[in-house]
Structure formats: structure tokens, C-alpha cells
Amino acid sequence: MKFQPKDFKSDQYVRWCPGCGDHAVLSCVHKAMAEQGVAPENIAVISGIGCSSRLPYYMNSYGFHTIHGRGAAIATGVKTANPALNVWLMTGDGDCLAIGGNHFIHAVRRNVDINIVLFNNKIYGLTKGQYSPTSDRGVITKSSPFGTVEDPFVPAELALGARGNFFARVIDVDLKNTTDVLAASARHKGTSVVEVLVNCVIFNDGIHKRITDKEFRSDRTIVLRHGEKMRFGRDNEKGIVLDGLRLKAVTIGQDGYTLEDVLVHDAHETGVALHLMLSLMGGDMPVALGVIRDVEAPAYDECVERQIASVRSGNPVRTLHDLLMTGEVWEVKE
């Protein structure tokens, strides 16, 4: 069946602030869903609490806006109860990594087939500007008037540390890549995590500017594509090479580096070391975008179903009465 993005839009007025990055992501979600070709009634969009968690109301699918941090657990229940549904979780850096950190890592570890879209604006927006678990050390916010004295989580590190099999990163301003990556995450069987770097125009404006700004974007980010050379730069003149046990950004043709030396991205590699190194790039290195890791592994919800099927195949008991009569039973006669 063919679907259009409008088939996934609800009639609700979108209440995010004008200029918020979430608008762009919503539009990409509509497009990605049209692309995956699943009917709206077979999609369940779950969310926790926070600005991004309002997203289910703007979908014309089944949706459940739940409680703070628990979206991953609720989505796990939805998918496990009915694996035929296409289940998405919309969550933010506070919802997912602070109050919901435990459910997030366990959902990822379990590899339940849900698509997690993690809106990372490094701030609590809905409560009006407190620091989040992804806020940089030292940042001054309403709840850290003298700067934070703690290090942030890097979502990729957490997801891969929890043995995640799919991790991607995108920026809100790159609609094309965001749509493609969301579609890829939907195709992945198992938990997929897409970190979207979004701008909070009110409380953290420009937080990702260093990499999202058109002027620097091609030099400060690299879009990874499976099977392709890791190249970036305005004219694709730069690449990532392995230098000993470290990654290094080089200019092709300089310092003796040729195109041959540039690494080819293998998202399907089961070993996590290179994916982790790529996802931690920043500073002098370009920030990695695109699908960083996409490895096949058994999905939890399928395993649950398979186990039930296998037990049933060897056991004729089908009703409670059957079960009770096979136990230790005695009869009292008239």
C-alpha cells in the first residue's frame, strides 16, 4: 500500500515554540512512516514526558503519551504484547537518560523491536531551562547558576554500552538525512536508537550551532554510510583514517594520505569498538552522523513468541482445565 506523509498527520494544532527543532523532526517522522508503508492503524507511537513527548498527539496513528521516563517500558509492553504493531518511542534527553535511564538501557539490552527517537537539546525545555544529563560540564542553567560540576552522558556511548545493535545520529536541520535514517531505523529489527540533535530556540538556542551551521557543517560533521568511504569536507576532500589505535581526520593527498587509506564504514560489523570510536568523535574530529551501527540480532518480542510456540508444540495442554487435570488431582465421588 502507498502512503503519503499527510496520512500520518493528525488534526491537532502543533504547540511547539516557533523555530523549535521538533517541528522538522515531526515532518521527517511523517515522511519516514509514509516510506515504510505501514498503515497508520498498525503504528503505535509512545512517548514519555517533555516537549518532544507531545509528538504522538500530532500523529494520525495509535498513540500513548505516558509518564516521565517510562516510555521505553510502556513501548516494550506494547510491542511484546502485540509484535504485529510497528512501535515508536519519542523521548528527550531528560526523559530518556535521566528519569528513564534504567528503562532505556534495559530496552536496548533486551533488543525489543521498537524505534527510539531521542530528541537531544541538552536542556529541560518544558520545565523552563534546567540542565539535563547531556548538558556539557560547566554549563550555566537555571538549576546550575554557577555551572554544572558533572560530566554528561553521550547517548551513543550509553546505547552501545547497553549492547545496542542500532545507533544513528542526525541533526534537525538536515531533513533529508533525518528522514532516511528514521526509515532505516524502522527497517531494523530490534531496538533502534536515533539521536536527533535538536535546537531549543527558547532555553538553549544554538546549542548544536557549532556543527549544524551551514557554514561549518561539512567540515565539522561526517555522514556515515554503510559500505562507503568515510569522507567529509566541503569538497569531500577529507577522510577518516586509522592511526594506530585511534581515528584521525586527514586531508586526502596531504601528509602522504591517499583515498586508499580512508576507512570504509561497516555498520554491520558486530564488534563495537570502531562504532564507539566513531560515535565519540568531536572536537578536532567531525561529529559522526548517519547510521553508525546496524547489526542484526534476535528481537526480544520475537523470542518471546518463539519460546511460547516451541513450548506449545510439545505440550497438548491448551486450557486451564487441561492444566489442572494434569496436576495432582483426586476425585471425590457421589
Binding site: P56, Y57, G63, R70, A73, E331
Partner: protein, 618 residues
């Protein structure tokens, strides 16, 4: 051959098996109960074990007990005091000395009464029986360890494994005492140790040796005969409360034609429900352990949204963790069963002991106005019906239902007639396919009679909708902060629960319904003790009645009538008066006497009779 010993025919007898927590007393008690049940005795059991898995050997804190009450007539409780005590060591003797009837038979493994054993149990003399003031008992001091070792000398077992069979020797001896044939016990042991035939054989040998020892000792103790009880015809099995709860949920799912989903997390004393349902894959049950209590309920809420009969199982501390999520199920109006197997609190409290202290938490322990249905099971077998009702009300009224059981009935067992599910009521959720109004359907459109919102399960074309924890508009189902709408939604959610009173049975009064001078009121797991107290008082010529509540919120429709019908009323419960105060808030002018015990132990029937009689005569 044995001399002809004195045979006493009794209506009821209480046997308590007691030993170190590693001595296998739970298994011994379970098998003995089962043997009695299949011979047609009514039974009620009470496993009483320490929170520590293995406390220091021989210590007072490590004593594990299993009490069974059997009789030729209806047995309501595991009994206050024992007619027969098996004490495998001095600590077990000491811990149970206050739970013995005069002239009780006390069987001890005298090999375990060495000086060091006595010291571990903090005896100061070398004569524990005199030290405890035990006179008038019928003592059977059997060298159980030695006889077991000797009896198994040709089995090629190491000493430790051999001595481990001493519980079966004790069981054999008790079987002799009660004239119980050993075949079924042997069969049980064979199936329990099916994968270890040498261990099965050793246990069976010890069992027979114990029985033969009884025949041969020329003991001057009396033996007992308990006549078979006339039970309703049918098939019976021995069941504990946690198992019955699990089966009640399965039955509700079967009746509703739905998949049963349990999201849970291990917690004493509720873990058995998770374990039982996790094993029921052949019935298609999805019972899964998640990362914490909150994930347990949240996965269940997700499953409810997705169209399952969803449940979560826990105890008091876990219920506290789940309260925010219960509120979500209240406002989202999703069907959900929350089972709280109550234990001693607050905080970690007394994890293996029983009380009824979570009632107010169940009724009110959430933010906002968030009414839920609260049901309490009264006996181990009643857990089945109570869980069935919980599933039925949750599904048909789109609401969370909290089912309260407690450690006492969860672990206690009794004989249960396997129910005919066809005799149970239908369970028909109000699906969106039944929506007939002219106005287009929206997520919170309700049945005009019951105020139940129609259930549109994801995957149903044409009914995609969004729900959530934010207040919604009564008509459109969109987010709303409109003042009058909120007032209306609060009132509607409350009215939806209140209306359930029209769908549950009325409160039943037992005993001297018409002319009781004292009405006993109870709820939940104290039913057995209150019933027995009622029976004894009526035998003593008192005019007494009992009203025992299963439905707590909403209360049965005739509650106020019943409460006002009797001059004197006493509410007995294992807390500081939670139900009494709740009833006072619901029934104007109701001012009962209260009987409250919070010791982590079941009521003592004799105390109930004494206190209630005093009240009557006051």
C-alpha cells in the same frame, strides 16, 4: 509387632513440622497435607519461614515451620496450637513451645540435642524439656539421624546426603501416627526426584523406616484417626493462594478470549505468581520479568493499551513504586490488574510475614483524584475467584483493579475443587465495535449506563487515537485544561467506579443473620480465623454474625444496611484500623469497635473468641 496403641478419633488436628531452614520442613509439611487431602480431610496450611535463606544452622532465627490443620469438617485456619509437633532440633522446640496444646505429642530428633545444639539454641541447662517447663507432653525422642544413617548405609551416599533424608523419616513417623498409607508419598518423592533416582530411593527408604519405627517402638503415645470429610463430588487439588491467583487470571483471560500478559519483578511474597505464570507458556501466557517494579507495571500498561488482559504482581514496597503508573492507567482508562500480596511494613518491614496494612495505600496512594477498584481475597482458594473478578471488572469497566491478598493466604494452601469455568460469568469488554452513537467516535466516548469508554485496540482500522496522562476533553478526547471539563472528568471517573457497585454481589452475612448481638466485620485473609471464631462463639450459645468483605471499592450496595442492622459491631483487621476508618468515611453514623493486631502472624482464634465475648458481655 507393635502393641495396640490407643487410637483417638478427632474431628480436627494440628500438626507442626519444624526444623532448621535447610531441614526440608516445607516439603515434609506439603506432602503430609497432600496425603491428608486425598484421604478426604479438609486442610489448611501455614508455612512460616525466616526471611534468611540459610540462617546460622541450629539458631533460633533459622527455624522454619510448616503447620497443617486437618479435619473431618470444614477447616478455616491452620490452627492456633499444635497437637503434634515435630522438632528436628532444640531451636525448633524452643521457638514452638508456646504453640503446643496440653498433652501434645512432641517428636524430636534426639541426635540433634547434643550440648553444642543446645547452646546454639541458647539453652543454659542440658535438659531442654525441663528448662522449657514442658510437662504433660507425650515425648517421642527418636534417634532420627542415626537411624537414617544406618538405614541408608548400603545406598552409597555420603553422610551429608544421607542425613538430609531425615525429614522423610520424620514424615514416615507422622504417617504412622495418623495411619496414612505411604504409597502416595512415595509417588510424590519419585516424581520430585525423578532426575535423581538414588536420592528418590534414599528418601523413600527413610520414609518407610520412619513408618516402621513408629510401628515398632511400642510407643505409649496415642495415634489419631481423622474421618474423611463429606466433600462435594468433583476433582480436587491442593492449591496455595499465589497459584490460585495466577490461575484466576488465566481463567479471566480465557473467558475474555484475550492473551494474558504479566509484567513483574521479584518480590517476597509475590514472586510465586511471576514464576507460576512464566511457566504457563503452553497456555500462551506472556509473563515476563523486567528491570524494576515500575517497568513491571509499565509494560503491563503497554500490553493493556495493545489489547491484552494485563497484570502486574507485587507486594507493598512495589505497590508504592507503581503508584504513579497506576494513576496513568486511571486517567488513560485502561484495564489493568495490580496484585499486592501484602507483607509486614513499613519499608522492607517483615518480608515473609503477613499483615493487612496496604489497604489505604491501595485505596488512596496516588496523586490527584484517582479512584480504582479494590478487591481482597479471603482464603487461598478464594484467590482464584478474586483474581477472576479483578480481571473481569478491569476489562469490562476499563479501570485498574488492585487485588489485595497477603502472605498468609498466598503461601497457605487448602484443598480446592477444580472449578467448572462454564459456570463462571462471561467477560465482555466494551470494544469500540459496539459503539452505536450518531456522533463520531472519540477516544473518551462512554457507554451512557456505565460511563465505560470504548476500547479501540491498536491495529483496528478507523479508530486510531491518542490517549495519555494529560487531562482530556470529555467529548473530543483532545488535551484540555478547561476548568469545567476537568471537574466533569474527575466526577465521571469517580462515577464510573461507583457504578461498579451495581455489578458485584451484595455483602453476605453469616451466622445469626437475624438476631446477632454482635456483628464481626473483616476483609481479606482473616476470613478463616473470623469464621472459626464465629463458629466457636455460636457453639458457646452466643448470637453472633460475620460480614466479610471481598469488594472494598466500591463497597457492595447493601453495606450501610448491614452495618446499621446490628447493635454492636467490631471490625477486626491486621492493621491499626484502616478498614474501620474507611467504612466510617463511607457509612455515616457508623462507629464500630475495633480489634487490631499487627504482629506479622495470623490472628489467634482463641484470642478472637475471648475478646469478642468480652465485647458482647460489656
Amino acid at each position: 509387632m507393635a502393641e495396640q496403641t490407643k487410637v483417638v478419633t478427632l474431628e480436627k488436628v494440628v500438626v507442626r513440622f519444624s526444623g532448621d531452614s535447610g531441614d526440608g520442613m516445607q516439603l515434609t509439611g506439603t506432602i503430609f497435607s497432600y496425603l491428608s487431602a486425598i484421604l478426604g480431610n479438609d486442610i489448611s496450611t501455614f508455612p512460616d519461614f525466616p526471611a534468611e535463606i540459610r540462617a546460622p544452622q541450629g539458631s533460633l532465627s533459622g527455624v522454619s515451620g510448616f503447620q497443617v490443620h486437618l479435619g473431618s469438617r470444614k477447616i478455616f485456619t491452620p490452627g492456633d496450637k499444635a497437637d503434634v509437633l515435630v522438632a528436628m532440633n532444640p531451636a525448633a522446640l524452643k521457638v514452638n513451645v508456646n504453640y503446643l496444646k496440653p498433652y501434645a505429642i512432641v517428636i524430636v530428633d534426639i541426635d540433634s540435642f547434643q550440648k553444642s545444639d543446645l547452646e546454639k539454641a541458647q539453652f543454659t541447662t542440658d535438659d531442654p524439656f525441663t528448662e522449657l517447663g514442658l510437662t504433660g507432653i507425650q515425648l517421642v525422642a527418636a534417634p532420627i539421624s542415626t537411624m537414617v544413617k544406618n538405614g541408608l548405609s548400603e545406598f552409597g551416599l555420603d553422610t551429608k546426603s544421607a542425613v538430609r533424608c531425615k525429614n522423610m523419616f520424620a514424615l514416615g513417623l507422622v504417617c504412622w501416627l495418623f495411619d496414612r498409607p505411604l504409597d502416595e508419598a512415595m509417588y510424590k518423592l519419585q516424581s520430585k526426584f525423578a532426575k535423581k533416582p538414588p536420592i528418590a530411593r534414599a528418601n523413600i527408604k527413610a520414609l518407610s523406616d520412619g513408618y516402621n519405627y513408629g510401628c515398632n517402638i511400642h510407643a505409649s503415645v496415642s495415634t489419631y484417626r481423622i474421618e474423611s470429610k463429606k466433600s462435594a463430588p468433583g476433582f480436587y487439588t491442593d492449591i496455595n493462594g499465589n497459584k490460585a491467583t495466577s490461575y484466576g487470571l488465566i481463567a479471566a483471560a480465557e473467558k475474555a478470549g484475550l492473551q494474558l500478559f504479566l509484567g513483574s519483578y521479584p518480590i517476597t511474597p509475590a514472586t510465586d505468581i511471576l514464576q507460576e505464570l512464566a511457566a504457563r507458556k503452553e497456555l500462551g501466557v506472556k509473563a515476563l520479568q523486567f528491570e524494576d517494579e515500575i517497568a513491571g507495571i509499565c509494560t503491563a500498561i503497554g500490553a493493556a493499551f495493545a489489547g491484552s488482559l494485563a497484570a502486574t504482581s507485587t507486594s507493598g514496597p512495589g505497590l508504592a513504586l507503581k503508584s504513579e503508573a497506576i494513576g496513568l492507567a486511571v486517567i488513560a482508562e485502561l484495564p489493568l490488574v495490580v496484585i499486592d500480596v501484602q507483607r509486614g511494613g513499613p519499608s522492607t518491614g517483615l518480608p515473609t510475614k503477613s499483615e493487612q496494612t496496604d489497604l489505604l495505600q491501595a485505596l488512596y496512594g496516588r496523586n490527584g483524584e484517582s479512584p480504582v477498584v479494590v478487591i481482597a481475597a479471603s482464603t487461598p482458594t478464594d484467590c482464584f475467584d478474586a483474581a477472576f473478578w479483578a480481571g473481569k471488572l478491569a476489562l469490562e469497566h476499563m479501570t485498574p483493579v488492585i487485588l489485595l491478598t497477603d502472605s498468609f493466604i498466598a503461601n497457605g494452601s487448602s484443598a480446592w475443587r477444580i472449578p467448572n469455568l462454564e459456570a463462571y460469568p462471561e467477560i465482555k469488554p466494551k470494544y469500540v465495535s459496539e459503539y452505536k452513537d450518531e456522533k463520531p467516535w472519540k477516544a473518551y466516548r462512554r457507554d451512557p449506563e456505565t460511563f465505560v469508554r470504548y476500547w479501540a485496540v491498536p491495529g483496528t482500522p478507523g479508530f486510531a487515537h491518542r490517549i495519555g496522562g494529560l487531562e482530556k476533553d470529555y467529548d473530543t478526547g483532545s488535551i484540555s485544561t478547561e476548568p469545567l471539563n476537568h471537574q466533569k472528568m474527575v466526577a465521571t471517573r469517580q462515577a464510573k467506579i461507583d457504578k461498579i457497585a451495581g455489578f458485584i454481589p451484595e455483602l453476605e452475612v453469616l451466622g445469626d443473620v437475624r438476631d446477632a448481638e454482635l456483628l464481626l466485620i473483616g476483609w481479606g485473609g482473616t476470613y478463616g480465623h473470623l469464621s472459626e471464631a464465629l463458629e466457636i462463639m455460636r457453639e458457646n450459645g452466643k448470637k453472633v454474625a460475620l460480614a466479610h468483605f471481598r469488594f472494598i471499592n466500591p463497597l457492595p450496595k447493601n453495606t450501610a444496611d448491614v452495618l446499621h442492622r446490628y447493635k454492636k459491631v467490631v471490625v477486626a483487621e491486621q492493621n491499626s484500623g484502616q478498614f474501620a476508618n474507611y467504612l466510617r468515611s463511607k457509612v455515616p453514623g457508623f462507629n464500630p469497635d475495633k480489634f487490631n493486631r499487627i504482629k506479622g502472624q495470623p490472628f489467634v482464634v482463641a484470642r478472637l473468641v475471648e475478646e469478642f465475648t468480652k465485647l458482647l458481655e460489656a
